[in-house]
Symmetry: C2
Subunit: 208 residues, 2 copies
DNA sequence: TGGCAATGTGAGTAATCACTCGCATTCTGG
DNA sequence: CCAGAATGCGAGTGATTACTCACATTGCCA
């Protein structure tokens, strides 16, 4: 039974000055989170790192979790925006190319603030609103499902939704693991080639 | 900079009575961890849930993290034992069957205490010795690499190590995600079939 | 059977840290 | 231009909780 706490921001900044403050706080949060890890993350340090009063921090975020949640949401938002935009565009490409583009975009999305990404995924407990990190996946799955449905006639699959689940999960895991274990692999074209092969062979389309 | 703490057990139980105590403590830890989540996990509650003095707990584990680390190690050990034993045996089977067996074993391994598994993977920060949850993967990768190497002549792959990385990561992620999102899928034979297809098609062997 | 090692016991403390108290200053829209 | 709203400012407290203090009892081997 986990205590549930409100994690929505307390109030929105209205003036520009306040927006700047909030941005400063978020940026400082990211720095502190990366530097200290989730355990060592204290609101007091965030405030002083941001150069604002602890009081100001609590004016906008009701508690510590809300702060981390905001950070996480921002991060997910960035990655999401990057992926979804591209996903819409690839529906015109030949399948093999589409696959490659999506995989490369996934890599690119993971390259945004990889250190923050690491802490958020490895150390932040997936509890309450902090579980929202998964919504990114859900959206991605849905988009890929659609893509597979539309082109099912040229593919060797029976159930687009199931296949989308397998493929999204696999690719995400591969990229994710690579980022955490050995980021340099992501520059190695062989990894991308093999990942493409994994997908295209499964789908039964000619390799790119 | 995360503070590092000793996470090795303080001393080993010598008499049977002591072994029983330690087991009780570990079992209680698991219960409390599942019930309260990692945040709510307090050593005092563990002690009282185990029906032993807090003092006894600290006689064997120097701190909270060591306790969780022990739990995690035990869990990894169980899963690991299950998988590795089987991995050795499949080297005689036809490839398609071997693939299926390994996938089914992976599912079986994840079915051991799934709730504890969830908490350990979702909430326990991967810091210090707690990062050891990954050693399981490393061992698995190595074994699969060997398997692929031995049978490379019948497979459509160039680099067994790279391919092992892709396949292990994918399968683990698929099973893992399924456990967390919708455990009932694991009873659906279609999921297993598709996972097998993903692997066999990539390897270029006839579907089982 | 006696002596030594191993074991078990709970109240209390010290430290940490999330979060709250009211008031002066700055902006903005009428 | 002014009135009401928005903003910014730390020291301190209350709660939580990991961990420590010494001694009686039990098991084991000589």
């Amino acid at each position: 039974m986990n205590r549930q706490v409100k994690t929505t921001p307390r109030k929105r900044p209205r003036q520009d000055r306040a927006k700047a403050t909030v941005d400063t706080i978020l940026a400082a949060s990211a720095r502190v989170l990366v530097k200290r890890g989730f355990d060592g993350f204290t609101t007091n340090e965030v405030a002083s790192a941001a150069g604002v009063s602890i009081r100001s921090l609590y004016q906008y975020y009701p508690n510590k979790e809300a702060l981390v949640a905001a950070l996480l949401e921002q991060h997910v938002e960035e990655m999401s925006a990057m992926l979804m935009g591209e996903l819409a565009r690839v529906s015109l490409l030949p399948m093999a190319q589409a696959v490659r583009v999506v995989i490369e975009m996934t890599i690119k999305a993971h390259a945004v603030e990889p250190e923050l990404h690491r802490v958020l995924t490895e150390q932040v407990p997936r509890v309450g609103r902090l579980a929202r990190i998964r919504e990114l996946d859900v959206l991605g799955h849905r988009a890929v499902t659609e893509l597979l449905k539309v082109r099912q006639h040229e593919l060797a699959i029976r159930d687009p939704e199931l296949s989308a689940f397998l493929l999204c999960t696999s690719i995400e895991a591969i990229v994710h693991r690579a980022v955490l274990v050995a980021p340099e692999w992501l520059r190695d074209p062989r990894l991308v080639d093999e990942a493409c092969a994994l997908v295209t062979r499964y789908l039964g389309v000619a390799d790119g």
